[in-house]
């Protein structure tokens, strides 16, 4: 429906709420910044089913969209993340004692038990992340197709990890008008598709409950390393600068620094040192709470219901 010209937003999922008008948010141990690191573990499906929708700007490969089948470049670049890149990122997180929230699609969750186990050993949280990165949820799906897609994603992660995922990140941040409501109905409690805040906020759902957690679009590695090809030393500086600002603001009310990292990009050797520098900068500061999505959501819920 086109917007009506009246105060507030023109979507049914949350009230508009400027950050400057909210009550103080306090993190555990009076931390100023909750560090929320997401590792997106994504399969690039060899053959896209006819009904599948792929973002025309999907990162990976050479010379953008329009390569002929089979696109071994994109396929194998993604695979690099599962075989090599993610282990470098784990090593980095181990070094600084940081936790991760792993957004894993059902193709990888159902076929890579070794990866799941390595993440489990480190206490990472798993969240559902669609079926494959080149199958995006969009308004092109019928409701039954969408329900099937979400259910496959959630059930496969539950089965592969032994616990039901509480969080959701759509492949390529894709949603239809229905997605948020269906996710809540299926037991998902937080959603990372809406990059519009530096704090969590409660969303509305007809059935169930839903929170939105901040994941910075500005710092997503695909936007920097792929779309904009930002020099990685500048990306490192952007992470440090973002941290400094949120840290300053976090003295008055807690903030979240949410960074979405893709192992096939950020786990490349030539990018490793600079990410190490950025995370090292954050690790060296007092008042940082490294937390998973569920921990942030639960803490926020307690705070706001008080």
């Amino acid at each position: 429906m086109p917007a009506e010209r009246k105060p507030g937003l023109d979507n049914p999922y949350f009230d508009w709420s400027p950050i400057a008008t909210r009550p103080k948010l306090t993190w555990p141990g009076n931390a100023r910044v909750a560090l929320f690191l997401v590792l997106s573990v994504e399969h690039w499906q060899w053959k896209l089913p006819p009904e599948g929708y792929k973002s025309p700007e999907l990162p990976g490969g050479v010379s953008g969209a329009g390569r002929p089948f089979p696109d071994v470049i994109t396929y194998s670049m993604r695979e690099y993340g599962h075989r090599v890149g993610i282990f470098r990122l784990m090593k980095l997180l181990d070094k600084y004692g940081f936790k991760a929230t792993v957004a894993i699609d059902s193709s990888i969750a159902g076929n890579y038990p070794y990866l799941i186990n390595e993440c489990k050993k480190r206490g990472y949280e798993f969240i559902a992340h669609g079926v494959a990165v080149n199958q995006m949820v969009s308004a092109k799906m019928s409701e039954s197709e969408e329900r099937e897609h979400l259910k496959t994603s959630i059930d496969t992660v539950a089965k592969a990890t032994g616990s039901k995922p509480l969080g959701w990140l759509g492949a390529e941040y894709g949603e239809s008008e229905r997605t948020n409501a269906i996710l809540a109905e299926m037991g998902i409690k937080y959603n990372l598709d809406w990059p519009n805040d530096d704090q969590p906020y409660a969303m509305k759902a007809p059935k169930g409950e839903m929170y939105s957690l901040p994941l910075s679009m500005d710092l997503d590695d695909t936007f920097n390393h792929w779309y904009k090809r930002v020099h990685y030393d500048i990306y490192t500086q952007m992470i440090k600068d973002s941290f400094d600002v949120l840290y300053r603001e976090g003295e008055k009310s807690g903030r979240v620094l949410g960074i979405n990292l893709h192992p096939w990009l950020s786990g490349q050797p030539f990018r490793y040192k600079l990410l190490d520098e950025a995370l090292g900068y954050i690790a060296g500061r007092e008042g940082v709470w490294s937390a998973t999505g569920s921990e942030i959501m639960e803490w926020h819920k307690k705070q706001t219901k008080r």
Binding site: V62, P68, R83, F87, R88, Y112, Y114, P269, F270
Partner: protein, 308 residues
């Protein structure tokens, strides 16, 4: 099982260690692309070879020719100074069009990874028989002009078919550089014979840097960072690093000093095996292919864990 099932899952930090000759940590191969883009290429189904203008595009065509007329010769000086034996990613028609280049490469005993015949002719629409004939052409042409037996291929403009690995193995090739999934060679599953993937470089390719307006110095810094990490990791298990180059880019007057500098930097380290793609692939085939396949079938591998 996920398609295309061309290789088993194997995390690089949890597989049998690779030891290169003399306990080298990193195997270095340097792969300049010697290409020819036709003045008036046949129409392709997916790629306009000269998208800027109705054909011809004299500026694009001439810029590529600059690589062969000028930049290649400048590049040779740097390669010679560092005793680099290149693994030329070769559009094989270059051998026929430019005998001077052929002679210069043969004199230096370079190795060759085929990159098709022209960079304006692709594989993706070929029938099985046409693709078979293509490998025969590649093998025969290379043999005729250089005396070398073709061992590896980066498909032209990277345009393989689903059958490509099977047909390469059938033709007797041992390595396929279209797969960017690893920092070590790795066995590919093929219908007959044996084939491995070779980690060529796409993200740190000079073409990628040129396309996205990165400074020459940034390319150097990236390669240096890349090398530092694989060198560190190579202490446990050997790694490869590929300098994938295009003379018209990296041997332009604005960039050539960075090629010199990165070779200086890499070769100043002990434990670098200065070699070719052919030699790395042959060494892996002789020493690690069967061992790795056996490992993948054993209980220790993550593949077995999946089957359990």
């Amino acid at each position: 099982m996920l398609e295309p099932d061309r290789f088993d899952y194997s995390p690089i930090f949890d597989r049998p260690a690779i030891k290169w000759p003399n306990n080298a940590r990193v195997a270095l191969w340097v792969s300049p692309n010697m290409e020819h883009y036709e003045y008036l290429p046949p129409k392709a189904d997916w790629r306009n070879q000269w998208p800027r203008t109705p054909h011809p595009d004299v500026s694009g065509y001439a810029h590529k020719d600059y690589g062969n007329r000028v930049a290649f010769w400048r590049m040779l000086e740097v390669m010679d100074a560092h005793k680099i034996r290149c693994t030329v990613s070769l559009n094989e028609a270059v051998l026929e069009h430019f005998p001077d280049i052929t002679k210069a490469m043969v004199k230096r005993d370079y190795d060759y990874m085929s990159h098709g015949i022209y960079n304006t002719r692709f594989l993706n629409k070929l029938t099985l028989d046409e693709e078979r004939a293509f490998y025969k052409d590649c093998i025969d042409t290379l043999k005729k002009h250089t005396g070398k037996q073709l061992k590896g291929m980066l498909t032209p403009a990277i345009s393989p078919t689903e059958a490509t690995p099977d047909l390469m193995a059938e033709a007797g090739l041992i390595y396929h550089a279209d797969w960017f999934h690893d920092d070590q060679p790795f066995p590919l599953k093929v219908k007959s014979g044996r084939l491995i993937s070779m980690p060529y470089a796409i993200d740190i390719n000079d073409g990628t840097y040129n396309r996205f307006g990165c400074t020459p110095e940034y390319w150097y810094q990236s390669l240096k960072n890349q090398f530092d990490i694989v060198y560190e990791e190579g202490a446990e298990s050997g790694r490869t690093i590929c300098l994938s180059l295009h003379p018209y880019i990296i041997a332009a007057p604005s960039r050539i000093k960075y090629l010199d500098a990165i070779l200086d930097y890499i070769l100043s380290h002990a434990g670098v095996w200065n070699t070719t793609g052919d030699e790395i692939a042959q060494y892996y085939m002789d020493n690690y292919h069967d061992m790795m396949v056996k490992h993948l079938k054993s209980k220790k591998s993550p593949v077995a864990e999946r089957a359990a």
